[in-house]
Every structure is written in structure tokens, then in C-alpha cells.
Symmetry: D2
Subunit: 292 residues, 4 copies
């Protein structure tokens, strides 16, 4: 398939590389063009504008936040103006439910299709095509896009016709990870002050009921208090919690743990931790216990 | 080994049966004696008093709460008076750190040994010898008891010399499960109101980052809103959160999620849910969102 | 002084009437013009556009939210285009710190002055000129406006040079009232379930340490569970808490009670209470205790 | 009246002095006897045992906590054994609902009467007879005791027949003060970071809606960050919140702000603040905002 890719950060680069490997014709665009180089060496066509990247049957966007996605979509040079009628904008960024819904309308008005396909997984998973894809949107479009999703992910979950449902699932997933960070932080503060070794404690947890990747990966960072360099920085963690709370607010769903997480992230950012890994919020329980 | 077993509820009966199967000489006691019958048929010796059950090298207690353990230990007919010098009281109940510490002292004063060996696992795991044993206490005693722990569990974790450390680990583990209940409840309230099917959502979670028994088992109950019959009733959930908070209070460790859980359990109990499974707290987020 | 007034709801009408009584030349504008009638009978000049109301030395705006203030300020027919150089826009609405800061810049660019002057007090206080005015902005401008503030309020507090500081004070004040609602709700749920009469309890509080208008007025509504008709509807209460949280987020200040209030308002709105008085959040504690 | 007084701390000494001034015959007892001296100089009869102090028609107890009250009541030398049949034990300490209920039963069994009469007010108010007395118990007994209450307080509120209702009112009152501390702490952290002076801010609050002693007295301490010497130390604040939560737990009333206060007090105690005034919890919001 002839497809564009806008946004070549760690996640986007990995995904675009997998599309190339799967034999698709990929035109890539990034605001700072040097990030495109390795992909061009792999066979990608470099674009000098978003418009150029939007010339195919579908174009992915994988960007940092709502503002970036809104700009590349609605700008002068943007996707809405330059994507062909009938073509698809695949949004893989973690964006708000609200933006997702408004872009769905914009693209429909322009005779195009908008689908949401955010992913679960860290950059290494993206590089290996091991992401999980959460897809929502027009079912015909999703079917046509299956080869693309298969290229970037190990499994695709189709959740609904309305694209924003996928964004909601993604945001709620990040909220659940955040809950694990906070809960582990509290539990480790408690047992450590009671004389139990944090790593031995984590070993018990992950050998028994909590035998899941999220407990192993993040639990290790927390037990060791290893929060730099950041795999996912705290300021983006705050952004995702804010988006989950905003979705809860529109839908009238109170989320007390999300409120707590928001307060934790603000504390972390107010005390110098903006660039630490988001797992660093787990250490605030220890700090409040007089220990960290 | 010649060993006693006091407390033949679902968990205790399973554990005692495994001890018998492993070839130990087991004397069993329960306040309501008919619960001893199946074990006696399997070869256990029935005791008509706690004192009688305390006649061997070690005696297990597996009871509902602090009050019950204090009574069988300190009563006229209790373990402290009747256990031989050098013998061991193995406490497998989920009790407070405070009681554990005071029993440690009492037994030491009586020339006996107190070890804590609470377990993770539901009654089916107890019946199959698949529990996880969290052991703490005198290392010599723990070594001698290894065959007993091996009989009841699939793996034993030795956490510290001080028996109460094992109780703390157990309480913190139950707190972590409670956190999962609340977090799943909030996430499901959110996505359901946004149009996503709860079971499909759970399938996504447990196929990806949250691939752990606790998310599968409890997530299933929550997605289906299947809270009766109770595997573990809400009033015991409240008790365990209270004990975690009490441990946090002695150690000066604030536990905001535990505070939230406490409030959730109180709401559940105040509104008729004392006998529901403790997973029912997860539905309060839906109720607050106007849905359950 | 020649002054305009945009926004003639209960609060705005009372304020404009007081300006007239103090002898100022007042041009009034409201989207639905019939609200202007009583003021015109009192001597106000009716305007058929915002532009017309912006023809004097100063123009007040007293509107429901950020969107309304942004529209009357920035629209084609808006204040920015039609206010004279050197004239002042006095914003009395409860708006966000963010909008306040951006309007400050817009007016400065247009050679005009923006000051914030939100008020504390209910409609009856507005009608009697008994409001408290919280003013912030250029000190020269505030001095010139003193006769206006004296007309609408019993006292004016000047808090800072930066207009948004007054908005922050207003938002934090509403947050403090919200905290009183929640705290009283919890306390009354507790004592009522313990057999104490709610009104007698309130009498004790307001005769002793809590002898303040906010406890008397709102405490009465809460003790009687009298939440309709709304003096200030719950959906506006949610808006104000959201703005306080947003200010906290920009400034990196976690506000745990504000987070709790937000969850309470969402619960109230999700369960049919959007048009109740915002004091109705106090009854959620009783509901959670199985009583309301 | 012939009356005893047990517990001559700052509060108790002031109350006993007022009883003397009102012409009652007062026998005083304190564990460390030198505290009785000033009262003896004023005409009090010194007792060398609790029993001796319990020889009249009524005996007050004003002690630090449940343990102290239980000891002087139930000990060998205690009130239960030595108070005449028909005489009254007036408990003015801030104790748990649970202890109050169990002492009510004990005294009834002994043919005596137990009434609760906790007070609101600081030591200066006690010295001036300006306390507020919250009384509950047998109405005949309360009537007979009116002269005593009138001597120590400026006003007496009779809340119920069941003594523990007065304890609940007292605990809930302290909870409400704690809520004010936390809410003021959050609000001041917010406005200070937004450039508003804390004292000017407090002046606005206490000149308008929050014109009550509790906002003035505690607001002043918080604005100035003046937390030593302690009028009421943080560790006693934690105790009172714990008792309010315990009452909520028995009655099945969730109290989310009380849970937050508990976490704040634990943080304060864990980080060296046990002996600061309890108002110091207000500064934790500033600390979390990176400021204190």
C-alpha cells in the first residue's frame, strides 16, 4: 500500500520501519528532517511537507500531543487539505477523546476517513513490530488497513465504530499503569519501613499474583529508584492523566485514583522531576513516609 | 512431623489435608467439630481442645481475625500454656502486625517460638498445595519447618527474621489487590460510558500489559458484575485494609489508595454489600457515574 | 463616569443598578434585551450592541464563563475593536487565570487597559451594593475606577498589579466554600447516623467556632437538604472547581480537596443533580453512608 | 456542690479554677501533684488518689486520651470503685465513642451515672470560663449539673441522652477544624505561587465570607508559617482524626476528607513534625507545590 507517516520519534520510526519491511511504499515526514534519514536508507521516500506525506491511500500520524496533531491535520499544509477523498488518516498518537471526535467530523466533511489506532508498547516493541494496536473507526476502512496494523503490531483489537473509543481505551490503559505505579509506591514504602527488602518484595509479587509485564518492568524501576533516563517522562504522564480526567469529565465519570495521580504528577513536577520517568511518582509515598 | 492444626475453614482444611498427604502426623481442631470429619477420614487425629492440638513439634493456626488468634493462643486452654518448650506456633492467618509482634514476645517468654507464615491463594489453591507461603521468623525454626511449607505451598518466600514482616507483606499484598479492584472499577466505568464493551475491554487488558492472574480473575467478576457468592467477603476486605492502614499508622507511612479503599468498603457495607465479594467495591465507580 | 455594562444576569443587573444610583452614566447591554428594561426605566441607556456599550471610559463584563467573555471581547462587534484607547475593560466574571492573562495582553496590544474585579456575594448583596470587590491590575487605572467599585461593593481589596491574581483569589475563594460544603456534608452524615439532630448540630457549630456567614447560609441548606431552587447551580460549581484545578495545574500546585470536590460534582451531575444548588454535593456523604 | 477534678493540664486547671470561683467545693487530683498547687492556693482540696477525688456528688475527668481515662476509671484506685451510688462521672476529655459507650455501661452497672461533657475552646477560654460545653447523658443528671457547666463555659449544648453523642460531636468538630487547616493550606499554596501575599489573602477571607474565629486564629498561624510552640500538637491532631475515622467506621460512614487529614498528619509526623502545632499540616500543600 502507498502510505505516509508523519512523526518520526522513537515510536513512529519503529512503526514506519516495520511498514517498510512489510513491503509497503512509505513516504515519511518529520519536522526535523534528519530523523527521516535512517528510514530513507531503508527505502522510504522523504517528504518535505505534510502535504507530500498525505498523497497516498492512508497517512499515519504519531505525534506528542493534541496540539501537534491538530497542527499537522488542520494547517495550511495539512492533511485535511491534501489527503485524497476516500483516503484515511490513521491517528496513532495518544490524544484526547475530544480532538479525536472533532477530527472525525472534519475528515468526514472533507470526504475522507479518520480512524484511531493508538498502540500499547514501548519503543523496543515498536521496533520489533510487537505493539498492540487498539483500532476504532469505520469497519470497512479498518479491514482495508489490516495489513498495516499487522505490520506494526503483534495483535490488533477493534473496539468500536467511533474512533474516539480507541483513544479512550488507550487513555484508560495508561491510567491503569499509573495506578500500578502509585500502588506499588505505597506498598514498597510500607514494607521497606517495616524492614523488608524492596527487591525481594517485588520478587514475591511478580512470582505470585502480579506476574505481569507492567509489574515487572515498572516494579524494577521503583524498587531500585531508577528514574533516569526516562522511558516515558513524567510531564507526558501528567498529560495522559489530564486527558483521562477530561474524558471522565465529559462523560460524567469520577475517577478518584486518577485525581490522586494528577496530584502526584504535579508534586513531582513542582519539585524538579519533570524529566524523570513517570514511575518516579511512586517514590512520593516514600518521601511522605520520611524515607526517600 | 507431629503437627497440630487449629482452624479448619476452607483454607485451613485444604492446608491440613496437604500436610496429611505429605505423610505428617496431624492433629486437627476446630471450634465446630464437624468440620474436622473429612480430615479425620483422611487419617487426621481429632482434638477436642486447642491444648490437645498443641501437643506436637509445631501447631498451625489459620483463623479469621486477630480476636480468634488471640483467643486460641492466650486462652486458658490455649497454645501458650500447652505448647512444649522449643516447639513452634506457625501463624498463617492474616493478622495485624501489632498482634504478631506481641505474640512473638509472649512465645519467647514461654520458651517457645512464634513464626508467621501467611499465604497467598484462594481455597482451590490451598486444596492443591499451590499456595505461596510468606514466612518470617527464626531462621533455624523456618529451616526445620521447610517440609511443612513445601506440603502446603508451591513456593516459600522467607522475608525476614522478625515474624511480623511476613504479616506486613501479606497485608500489603491484599492492599495491592484492592488497588487493582478500584482501578479496574474506575477504568471500566469510564470506557463503558464511552461505548466500549466491558468484557472486550478486559480481554484487551489481559492480553497485553495486564496479563496476570489478579487481573483475569477479578477483572472477570467486575466486567460481569458477578459479586455473589463471595469468594472473599467485603467485610473481610475492610478488615484487611484496616490492618494495612494500622500498620501504616504505626510506621508513619501514609497510604492514600488504602484510605480510598477504606472509604469504598464502608460505602459498600453501608449500602447493603457486606456479604458480596470484595470485588464489588469496583462497581461503586459505575454507581457514581450513574450507571450501576 | 460614562460606563458600559455587558451581562445583565442577577449579579450584573444588581451591579448596574448600583452604578446608576451612584450617579454614573450607564449604557447597558444584554444578549436577550428584555433584561435591560428595568435598568432603562431607572435611567440606563440601552445599547443594541456590545460595541455601543463599549463607548465610554470603562466597560464592565459580568458573564457566565470564559466562552462568553471571550466572545464579547474578541468578536467582530467586540470590546477590543470598539473600546477607546486608554479606556478600561473591567472583568467581573469568574473566569480562568489563563483567559485573564491572555485578555490582559490583547488589551495592552490595543492600547487599552484590562483589569479584573471579580466579586464575592450573592445576588441580594449585589442589589444592595454589599459585594466585596477583589481588584487587580494597573494601579493608576484602579484608582480612577474607585468610585465604580465603591458603588457596587461594601469594600474593595486590591491584590496585585497582574489582573489574573484577582481571578485566582476569586477561584480559591469558591474552592474554600466548596471545601466547607464537603466537610459539613461529612460531619453531618457522621453525627446524624450517631443520633444527633442535624439542625441542632449546625446550631452548635455556628454558635461556636464556625460563626461565619458561609457556615450559616450553606449549613442551613445542607441540614435541611434544601437544594432546589439553586442559588448557584452545581454545574457552575463544577466549572469553578475545574478552573481552580487548571490554575493549580499551570502553577504546579496539587489541590487534593479540589480533586475530591471535582469527583463529587461529577457524581452529582451523573446522577441527575446538575440543576441543584452546588451545596447538594454535601449530601453525597450521606448517600455513601446509606442515608440520603 | 462537692465535686472532684482529675487531670490538671492547661484545660483542666482552668476549668477547676472556674469551679472554685463559682463557689463549689473542689477536690483536685493530678498524677504529678505539683500541678495542683495553684488550685490549692485558690482553695481547692488536694487529693492524693483518684479515689479521694471521687468522693463527692460528681467528678470531672479531663485527660489526654482513652488510655488515661480508662485507667483512672477502671483502676484499683479508680472512679468506678470509689464513686458513690447515684453520683456522676463527668468526662470532658476528647475520647472515643467506643470508650464512652463502654464506660456508660460500666457506671450503670455500678449504680452510678456517666455523662459526657467535652468542650470547645483553647486554654485561654478555659481560664476565663468561656468554653462551650457539649453535654450528653441522662437528662436529670445534666440538669443537676447545670451550675457546674455554667461555671466552666459560656454556653452549654445538650445533644442527646446517650453520652457518646457528645463525644461524636466533639470529634466531628475537631474534624471540621482539621478540614479548615487543609483547605486553607491548599488555597494559600495556590495564591502564593500566583503572586498574592498570604496575609493580605487571609485578610480578604476573614473580612468577607470566612469571618469566624477558626479562620482568623488558624489562618494567622498558617499565613505566617508559625507552628511552634504548639497550642495543640500534631500528634494529638492525628489521634482525634483517628477517633473520628473509627467512629465513622463503626457507623459505616466514609469520610474522605478525614482520610486525607490522616495521611497529612502521618506525613507530618514521619518528617519530624510531631510536636508542631497541628496547623502545620497546612504547609504540606506548599511543600508539595515546591515552596515550603
Amino acid at each position: 500500500m502507498k502510505v505516509g507517516f508523519v512523526g518520526l520519534g522513537q515510536m513512529g520510526s519503529g512503526m514506519a520501519a516495520r511498514l517498510l519491511e512489510a513491503g509497503h511504499e512509505v513516504t515519511v515526514y518529520n519536522r526535523t528532517p534528519e530523523k527521516a534519514r535512517p528510514l530513507v536508507e531503508q527505502g522510504a521516500r522523504p517528504a518535505t511537507s505534510v502535504a507530500e506525506a498525505a498523497g497516498g491511500e492512508a497517512v499515519f500520524t504519531m505525534l506528542a500531543d493534541d496540539a501537534a496533531v491538530a497542527t499537522v491535520t488542520r494547517g495550511e499544509d495539512g492533511i485535511l487539505r491534501h489527503l485524497s477523498k476516500g483516503a484515511v488518516h490513521i491517528s496513532s498518537s495518544t490524544i484526547s477523546v475530544e480532538l479525536s471526535e472533532s477530527l472525525t467530523g472534519d475528515h468526514a466533511d472533507a470526504g475522507q476517513t479518520f480512524v484511531s489506532a493508538p498502540v500499547f508498547g514501548r519503543p523496543t516493541a515498536a521496533a520489533e513490530g510487537k505493539l498492540f494496536v487498539i483500532a476504532a473507526g469505520d469497519s470497512g476502512a479498518l479491514e482495508r488497513l489490516t495489513p498495516l496494523f499487522d505490520a506494526v503490531g503483534q495483535r490488533t483489537f477493534v473496539v468500536a465504530d467511533r474512533p474516539s473509543a480507541a483513544n479512550l481505551v488507550k487513555l484508560s490503559g495508561n491510567f491503569l499503569i499509573g495506578s500500578v505505579l502509585e500502588a506499588l509506591g505505597e506498598a514498597m514504602a510500607l514494607v521497606e519501613k517495616g524492614g523488608v527488602d524492596r527487591k525481594e518484595y517485588l520478587d514475591i509479587l511478580t512470582s505470585t499474583l502480579f506476574n505481569a509485564p507492567v509489574y515487572k518492568v515498572y516494579g524494577g524501576l521503583i524498587a531500585d529508584r531508577r528514574f533516569a533516563p526516562a522511558g516515558f517522562p513524567a510531564r507526558l504522564g501528567l498529560k495522559d492523566v489530564r486527558l483521562a480526567l477530561a474524558a471522565g469529565e465529559s462523560l460524567r465519570v469520577p475517577l478518584p485514583i486518577a485525581s490522586l495521580l494528577r496530584d502526584r504528577f504535579l508534586t513531582l513536577l513542582a519539585t524538579g522531576g519533570a524529566d524523570l520517568d513517570w514511575a518516579a511518582i511512586a517514590d512520593l509515598a516514600s518521601r511522605d513516609a520520611g524515607q526517600a
